[in-house]
């Protein structure tokens, strides 16, 4: 086989995959933790220097010529595409139970193949970018935005993962918590504590649903759950159902309705007239079992647990600089910034032992975020310019 550019472009990814596989066998997963600050910054600066220097001093070198060509561009994209294809079709469980898992397939982002493919991409993309911007011409500006933007995103997005800390903090109402657990379940103490003063939750109106004998909700094509609205008539499997009343915060005991103030979980009672009978339905909680109605021997009518419409926390913060009495709000889609951390409202739950809600936060420490965002901004402008790019068909022919 001749060693022309085309064949080299095809062989390099193969060789790199082989190297990646060997390293994975000998060393296990890629040691991302070694790339914590300042190592990652040094690596990025080194990469930039190497690319610029080699472009200045080794411009005629065959390797550099290759890296700056369309061959290397497609070759590196091909390798990266291969890695993403594995990720797309092979379940990313992180467990190691067969030979493919040993090659890093079940946790591709921490595999050597992924790391190598990103480095190859950074080298070719970097060399090409430098080639096109020296000397600088305005017509190359959008090329620069697209390619340099992607370079920044790839470099900082990947290498910053070593520094990124993401912890889950679980705070019961009226308590103060100063620790959390990261994704590998390690105990972590950020430099602040959260007191949950109030947790607010709102629900969508509850729905009626049909379940079968195994307790499974029926396929929506057979029966679509319906919102329970007072004074509405429904037809459910040839039964006339009329909603007499919908009562919040009450439970059914011995066929009668008890209103209970301060129930720990949201309950609803629907008072229905089904054909000629009056029927009570109630959704189930940790504290009281559901009350259901048998339509026939196959189907049962139930109230589905209500879906949350809104939830958010009001908190007090304890930081190194002291306590303020200020109340902060954290809601879904509205995180709170605390020093170098951002705190997100992730979820909530209830336990039988505890009366209030337990709010779950995710606190993220991601010092390179702004660098990655700079790259994203460049790509954004680049993409907008690309909307208007055209090949002129007449000139070509």
């Amino acid at each position: 086989m001749k060693l022309n550019n085309r064949n080299i472009a095809l062989i390099i990814p193969l060789i790199l995959v082989l190297i990646g596989i060997c390293l994975q066998f000998w060393l296990g997963e890629f040691p991302l933790h070694l790339f914590k600050f300042p190592v990652n910054l040094i690596v990025i600066i080194q990469l930039i220097l190497i690319i610029i220097a080699s472009y200045i001093f080794l411009r005629k070198n065959k390797i550099i010529l290759f890296l700056a060509s369309g061959y290397a561009a497609l070759s590196s994209m091909l390798l990266f595409a291969f890695v993403v294809i594995i990720m797309a079709i092979y379940p990313q469980t992180g467990q190691i139970s067969n030979i493919l898992d040993k090659l890093g397939f079940s946790n591709i982002i921490l595999s050597w193949i992924y790391a190598i493919s990103v480095i190859y991409l950074l080298l070719s993309l970097g060399t090409i970018t430098v080639k096109r911007i020296v000397p600088f011409k305005t017509k190359n500006l959008f090329f620069f935005l697209n390619h340099f933007g992607l370079w920044i995103v790839l470099a900082f997005g990947n290498l910053s993962q070593a520094d990124k800390v993401s912890i889950s903090i679980t705070v019961p109402e009226a308590e103060t918590i100063w620790y959390g657990y990261d994704k590998k379940n390690n105990y972590v103490e950020p430099d602040f504590a959260i007191e949950l003063t109030k947790f607010t939750i709102e629900f969508y109106p509850p729905k009626l649903g049909l379940i079968d004998n195994n307790g499974n909700l029926l396929n929506p094509k057979i029966y679509q759950p319906r919102e329970i609205i007072k004074a509405h008539s429904l037809n459910i499997i040839n039964n006339d159902v009329y909603v007499i009343d919908l009562i919040e915060n009450a439970i059914v005991i011995n066929d009668s309705i008890r209103r209970v103030a301060g129930l720990p979980e949201k309950t609803y009672i629907a008072v229905l007239q089904i054909n000629t009978d009056t029927v009570y339905l109630q959704n189930g909680t940790e504290f009281s079992p559901p009350v259901i109605y048998e339509i026939d021997q196959n189907y049962k009518l139930v109230i589905l647990n209500p879906e949350p419409k809104y939830f958010g926390s009001e908190i007090k913060l304890y930081t190194k600089s002291g306590i303020t009495n200020e109340i902060h709000k954290i809601e879904v889609n509205k995180p709170l910034e605390i020093g170098n951390w951002k705190v997100y409202q992730t979820s909530y739950f209830k336990t039988p032992e505890f009366k209030g809600y337990v709010s779950v936060f995710t606190a993220v420490f991601d010092p390179w975020l702004n660098a990655t965002y700079c790259g994203i901004a460049l790509m954004f402008i680049g993409a907008i310019s690309l909307i208007f790019k055209r090949k002129i068909s007449k000139k070509e022919e």
């Binding site: 060509s69 369309g70 061959y71 561009a73 497609l74 994209m77 091909l78 990266f80 595409a81 993403v84 294809i85 990720m87 797309a88 079709i89 092979y90 379940p91 990313q92 982002i109 997005g157 993401s166 969508y204 729905k207 929506p220 679509q224 759950p225 919102e227 879906e307 949350p308 419409k309 809104y310 939830f311 809601e331 879904v332 889609n333 509205k334 995180p335 951002k342 997100y344 992730t346 995710t362 993220v364 991601d366 975020l369 990655t372 994203i376 790509m379 954004f380 680049g382 993409a383 907008i384 310019s385 690309l386 909307i387 208007f388 790019k389 055209r390 090949k391 068909s393 070509e396 022919e397």
Partner: protein, 266 residues
């Protein structure tokens, strides 16, 4: 339920487009007929948009949540974009293919309705929700038009035994804006994810497949730019890229990796 109106909208939609298509192939040089050919599909489209508007007001949230709802938007955009490209190129096959494609997606919605409630989970209540999904749907529609164009080019190539360069150029002219919108949709999704969950990229199966689609089109663009002579390869790749796109959009749930995706709708 407004959703039931879709039957009528579908019949009118097909009627307008079909009449336009028949007139188109009759080849009469009549000014009124020519106008009808142009305006019938537009009327069909406006009807569909009105339907979406009604659905939006009934649901009290943008109808972008379920697969069936995104298919509606897709139909609108495919129909609109093939119509616009037709105005520029007068390509009859494209007119027909655009009509068939948008009608098929509406038909799927009629056979597979997903009546949905108003409920929008808190994470979806974000100003990014609408632009993220709408931009993706426009991009998918443009790339569908690009795929249809290349399909026509492929048939022409076989018929004429020489490569139909014009179709490839036309197709690439659609791939640039399509790919650009793909990038914008992806970036908006990333920013939104960061605000909602603290991660701009979490390698969720839908995200991975979206990235793969993006890479495939990236390869198309660069192949075309750096190796303009590789036209057969480019045609093949454009077709393949669209298959990856369709898998991303419709097929994720059938893959072993896709079962736990937060993006599996409905």
């Amino acid at each position: 339920m407004i959703w039931k109106l879709l039957h009528i909208v579908f019949i009118l939609f097909v009627f307008f487009w079909l009449t336009g298509s028949i007139l188109l192939f009759l080849k009469r040089d009549n000014r009124i007929l020519k106008k009808l050919i142009v305006f019938l599909p537009l009327t069909a489209n406006i009807l569909l948009m009105i339907f979406i508007g009604l659905l939006w007001s009934e649901l009290e949230r943008p109808p972008l949540k379920t697969m069936a709802e995104t298919r509606l938007w897709y139909s609108v955009f495919v129909s609109l974009i093939t119509w616009i490209v037709f105005l520029q190129t007068k390509s009859k096959p494209l007119y027909l293919l655009g009509f068939i494609m948008s009608s098929v997606f509406l038909l799927v919605d009629i056979l597979n309705p997903e009546y949905q409630t108003k409920n929008l989970m808190p994470a979806l209540q974000s100003p990014w929700f609408i632009p993220h999904v709408v931009i993706y749907m426009i991009s998918y529609a443009i790339l569908a038009a690009a795929c249809l164009t290349v399909l026509i080019g492929f048939v022409n190539t076989i018929k004429r035994k020489s490569i139909d360069k014009q179709s490839i150029t036309l197709s690439m002219n659609l791939v640039y804006p399509g790919f650009a919108l793909l990038s914008l949709g992806m970036i908006m999704g990333a920013i939104w994810a960061k605000i909602a969950w603290g991660d701009y990229w979490s390698w969720d199966p839908k995200e991975t497949w979206a990235l793969l689609t993006w890479i495939f089109y990236l390869i198309c663009i660069h192949l075309h730019h750096s190796f303009p002579k590789k036209q057969k390869l480019l045609m093949l790749l454009l077709g393949l890229s669209f298959i990856v796109l369709i898998i991303t959009w419709l097929g994720i749930r059938y893959f072993p990796t896709g079962l736990n995706s937060i993006h599996v709708y409905g």
